[in-house]
């Protein structure tokens, strides 16, 4: 326990020397095992097989050294599992499809003339053709809201949010719609929360 205190103190002093550093208390995030409840600073942890006698989480781990990659190694042909780094995705191309545009247009007409069932049918057709187009989810959720199917409407709008990653305009509209659906369904707290989300974009 003493060691930990000393180490803590040392670390704090050193951190202070390092100026306005962004890091937080060093000990808390030391554990490389992220379990559901990270161990409190200095708490007793199970003995590691090859960590003889040390029954506390050491503050200073033994540094791990690695070689730097050479150029050839870096230019391997291997494709990592998820090649997608950016949330910006070419999903917007889907809505440019004339077929989907036509379906969305007629669904809009159906909606304004009150034929919500017809609108729903068209939007489900559109969904099969362009399942990654946030606009389809937006209109479908709106039709379900008008039909009073608030729970489904909210879920469809959330799925829209899910596919709209990186498209701020769509995200704002979808979150606003979620807010509207929730407030119509009587969930004012949820509506406020959704409105806040909408405000982020």
């Amino acid at each position: 326990m003493k060691r930990v205190c000393i180490a803590l103190g040392t670390a704090a002093v050193l951190a202070g020397c390092a100026g306005p550093s962004p890091y937080v208390t060093p000990v808390e995030d030391r554990s490389s095992v992220r379990s559901s409840a990270p161990p409190a600073p200095g708490s007793v942890l199970p003995v590691e097989e090859n960590a003889p006698g040390v029954s506390v989480q050491p503050v200073e781990d033994v540094p791990v050294f690695r070689q730097q990659r050479t150029q050839e190694q870096g230019a391997s042909t291997y494709t990592p599992p998820s090649a997608v780094e950016s949330p910006l995705q070419p999903a917007s191309t889907a809505s440019q499809n004339a077929a989907v545009v036509a379906l969305l247009d007629s669904a809009r007409q159906d909606t304004s003339s009150g034929d919500l069932r017809a609108a729903q049918n068209r939007l489900e057709r559109a969904l099969r053709i362009a399942p990654r187009d946030p606009q389809v989810y937006y209109q479908l959720a709106d039709v379900q809201r008008r039909l009073g199917q608030f729970m489904q409407a909210e879920q469809v709008a959330l799925k829209g949010v899910n596919v709209a990653g990186g498209q701020p305009v769509q995200l704002r509209r979808l979150w606003s719609l979620v807010a509207l659906i929730r407030s119509e369904a009587g969930d004012s707290a949820g509506a406020r929360q959704a409105q806040q989300e909408a405000g982020r974009y």
Partner: protein, 773 residues
């Protein structure tokens, strides 16, 4: 009719009392008979009218596949369209002008669609010009050269729910039939039809004359009206009583209804063939059965063949007795020519034509027993059996015949290869498969067994088999939700568990080795058992079960530790439901086979809309999707990329049950999810694992299906961080042994390895800070 008797009165001079009494009795009897006959007639009349005006036929439920949507920019190959049009019975012609015809010219085609009354609006018949290029359908224009945004082809009829007598028919109106059809029928069956009053004395006389001259029964004198009466109202046994009833009824029918009304009923009633237990009634269905096209599209020779079949559908069966059928057809044509109904040129052209009957397989009924099985089960939950078999309901499903045929072909090919490779130890293999669209949760195809036409045991729905490692994504997802990261080190070391019954359970890895400390993502990709069991026990079997329920399993699951290695048995359809949620970013959607049900007139009875419910945070799903992609890139499903394109980004999991009795693979791409099971009905050991068997079939299916790549967009709450593979510590792109892993923002490891990546800045503070990051 019996009035004549009343006039028979013989008053003679000799009027003895007994004679008078006898006469009186006779008179009374006659009167009684008259009353009875009149009552009988009134009864008959009422019967005739009731049947003719009420519901005439028990109409089977018709089940349709999804209609193929056509639009510019669609990824659809010309070959696929060819297959679809073939299934729909389109005729390839030199000049496409009439509905149901197509003209192919390289990558272009002229097409006249048939149109279809969909529940959400009618699709009109259209003349279209289509252009293919490279990846798919490039352009659609109408006859005037204007671009067309979207066209729906008519849906393929894939089956039905039939009444007990197995009578099947497609109702047609008289105006749907080509004009030559009533003409030919009248010419060959009843040439005085439009002139007689239900029965034809002339016809009877002629028949008698012919029969007398031949010395045997050659020709019957029945009119079309009498034939209809016979089929419609009377039993099929040939008795004199029936014959006697037939005539007055025919006269009554003729009295009440127009010739065209009676003829229309005849067109729909008449028996024209037998497909297994299914009786083909009416010209509408017969046209589909023999030619694969609607009756309105038939030409003269085809019409003549159908008209000729009336006399003996079995005797003149064009598939079994083509010569007889041809002679019969030509006789009908000759009669038409002799009666001046057709000209000489027409006649000569028609008799030169071949029969043109399609192979029986092309009628798509009976081709999808496993899919129809699921559809019928769902229907029976909501409709009564008698309504299903008599109300003429129309059921629109999501079945994709193209995906279905590729699934069947992939399984067939793979099983053949496995048998060849493993010889005797791979006999009697069985299989099943479920294909869905992960975006919409629609079921596109189901294979219920190796014999894809077998109507019995449906393994995709009813074979409950231990899912083996297919359960692992649910365990790892539970762990991620409980705070683990993909880089969390797991211990792959022997584990011993005391079971409630006193047994000790110590699971082994597939390679019978333990692998020490490994990062979590690696443990899933390589499907290690010991680390998985330790992880599962740490997060809790109950929590894993809860996760499985959230992912879509509705059956009760017992919290045994063996569940962690997939001892739980599920059907391929249930597995598809679980993986569906993983593919759809945590939105659980009930799998749907039926889109909507309408009555015979097209009024909507029930619909099954797009439904979903978010069950797991998309950020967590993104992490598990990463690890499931790793299964394909570096893990147990590496085989897939030896065949499939590298940009497919497939995500999935192999599964092998205990003692290697079941070989599974479940996985998805951008727009296709498929679950394959291979095993044996007697549950005996297989000579291959999930990767060696089911994965091969899955891969073969995806190779031919050419799906869209899977595209896992990074949610906002996820960051990609370079970590050291071995230790799970923070690392850098420049350091050896590092890889990029996704983390929920803020959960990436803080401590870093050192490969000098931060030194070039020459700022000692940076180097110093790196110790604390």
């Amino acid at each position: 009719m019996s009035k004549k008797r009343n006039g028979r009165r013989k008053a003679t001079a000799k009027s003895t009392s007994w004679l008078r009494r006898a006469l009186l009795l006779l008179l009374k009897l006659s009167l009684l008979l008259l009353v009875v006959a009149a009552a009988g007639l009134i009864y008959l009349d009422a019967q005739i009218r009731a049947k003719f005006e009420g519901k005439r036929w028990a109409l089977p439920t018709k089940v349709y596949a999804r209609p193929l949507e056509l639009y510019a920019g669609q990824t659809l190959s010309a070959d696929d369209l060819k297959l679809e049009l073939k299934g729909l019975g389109y005729k390839s012609v030199a000049n496409a002008r009439t509905p149901g015809t197509v003209h192919w010219a390289g990558p272009r085609l002229d097409l006249v669609t048939r149109g279809f009354p969909f529940p959400d609006g009618s699709e009109a018949s259209q003349q279209l010009k289509l252009e293919f290029s490279g990846a798919g359908l490039n352009r659609i224009r109408d006859a005037d050269g204007r671009d067309v945004a979207l066209v729906r082809l008519e849906p393929m009829l894939i089956g039905g729910v039939y009444p007990q007598d197995n009578e099947d028919r497609d109702l047609i109106r008289l105006e749907d039939a080509p004009a030559t059809l009533p003409m030919a029928l009248v010419a060959v069956e009843d040439r005085d039809y439009y002139h007689h009053f239900g029965i034809s004395p002339k016809g009877i006389a002629r028949a008698m004359w012919v029969n007398l001259r031949a010395g045997r029964f050659v020709q019957g004198g029945s009119t079309l009206t009498q034939q209809l009466i016979k089929n419609f109202y009377l039993t099929s046994d040939r008795t004199l009583a029936r014959k006697l009833m037939e005539m007055p009824m025919a006269v009554l029918l003729d009295l009440h209804y127009s010739k065209d009304e009676i003829l229309e009923a005849y067109l729909n009633e008449v028996y024209l063939g037998q497909a297994g237990s299914r009786a083909i009634h009416g010209f509408g269905l017969a046209s589909q059965y023999y030619f694969g096209r609607p009756v309105g599209e038939l030409g003269l020779p085809e019409v003549a063949l159908l008209a000729g079949l009336v006399k003996g559908p079995s005797f003149y069966d064009p598939r079994r007795n083509p010569e007889r059928a041809l002679a019969r057809r030509n006789l009908v044509l000759k009669l038409l020519y002799e009666q001046d109904k057709i000209g000489e040129q027409e006649y000569n052209a028609a008799i030169a034509e071949p029969l043109g009957v399609i192979a029986q397989r092309s009628l798509h009924k009976g081709a999808y027993p496993a899919y129809l099985d699921l559809v019928k089960r769902q229907l029976r939950e909501e409709y009564r059996e008698e309504d299903l078999s008599s109300e003429g309901l129309r059921v629109f499903t999501a079945l994709d015949p193209l995906a279905q045929s590729r699934a069947e072909a992939a399984l067939g090919k793979t099983l053949g290869q496995l048998e060849k490779r493993y010889g005797k130890s791979a006999t009697n293999l069985e299989t099943s498969m479920v294909v869905t669209d992960p975006q919409t949760a629609e079921i596109l195809a189901i294979v219920g067994g190796r014999d894809t036409r077998y109507q019995g045991f449906n393994r995709a729905l009813d074979a409950l088999r231990p899912i083996g490692s297919l359960v692992k994504p649910a365990i790892y997802l539970t762990a991620l939700e409980r705070g683990f990261t993909l880089a969390s080190p797991l211990e792959d070391e022997p584990v011993q568990l005391k079971l409630p019954n006193g047994d000790v359970w110590s699971p082994d890895n597939f390679d019978r080795r333990s692998h020490g400390v490994i990062p979590l993502h690696r443990s899933l990709a390589l499907s290690y058992n010991q680390s998985t069991v330790r992880l599962g026990l740490e997060v809790g079997v109950d929590r894993v079960i809860d996760m499985l329920h959230r992912l879509g399993v509705s059956r009760e699951l017992k919290p045994y530790p063996s569940l962690l290695l997939g001892a739980q048995a599920l059907s391929p359809l249930e597995v598809a439901g679980v993986y569906q949620t993983l593919a759809a970013n945590g939105f659980q959607m009930p799998l749907r086979a039926i889109r909507s049900v309408t009555d015979a007139e097209g009024g909507e009875l029930s619909r099954y809309p797009f439904k979903l419910r978010q069950q797991v945070k998309p950020e967590l799903i993104h992490l598990i999707q990463y690890a499931m992609q790793e299964v394909g890139r570096e893990g147990t499903a590496r085989y897939a990329y030896s065949v499939l394109p590298g940009n497919l980004n497939l995500a999935g999991k192999t599964g092998t049950s205990n003692d290697q009795r079941d070989s599974w693979f479940a996985g998805f791409t951008g727009d296709r999810l498929a679950v394959v099971w291979i095993g044996r009905d007697d549950n005996s050991r297989l000579p291959f694992t999930g990767s060696g068997g089911a994965l091969r079939a899955w891969t073969e299916f995806m190779r031919t299906e050419q799906p869209e790549p899977f595209f896992a967009a990074r949610p906002e709450g996820v960051e990609y961080v370079w970590v050291d593979e071995q230790t799970g510590l923070l690392s850098d792109q420049r350091c050896e042994g590092s890889r990029q892993l996704p983390f929920i923002t803020g959960t990436a490891p803080q401590r870093s390895v050192d490969c000098g990546q931060r030194r070039p800045s020459n700022n000692p503070l940076d180097w110093f800070r790196s110790w604390f990051r």
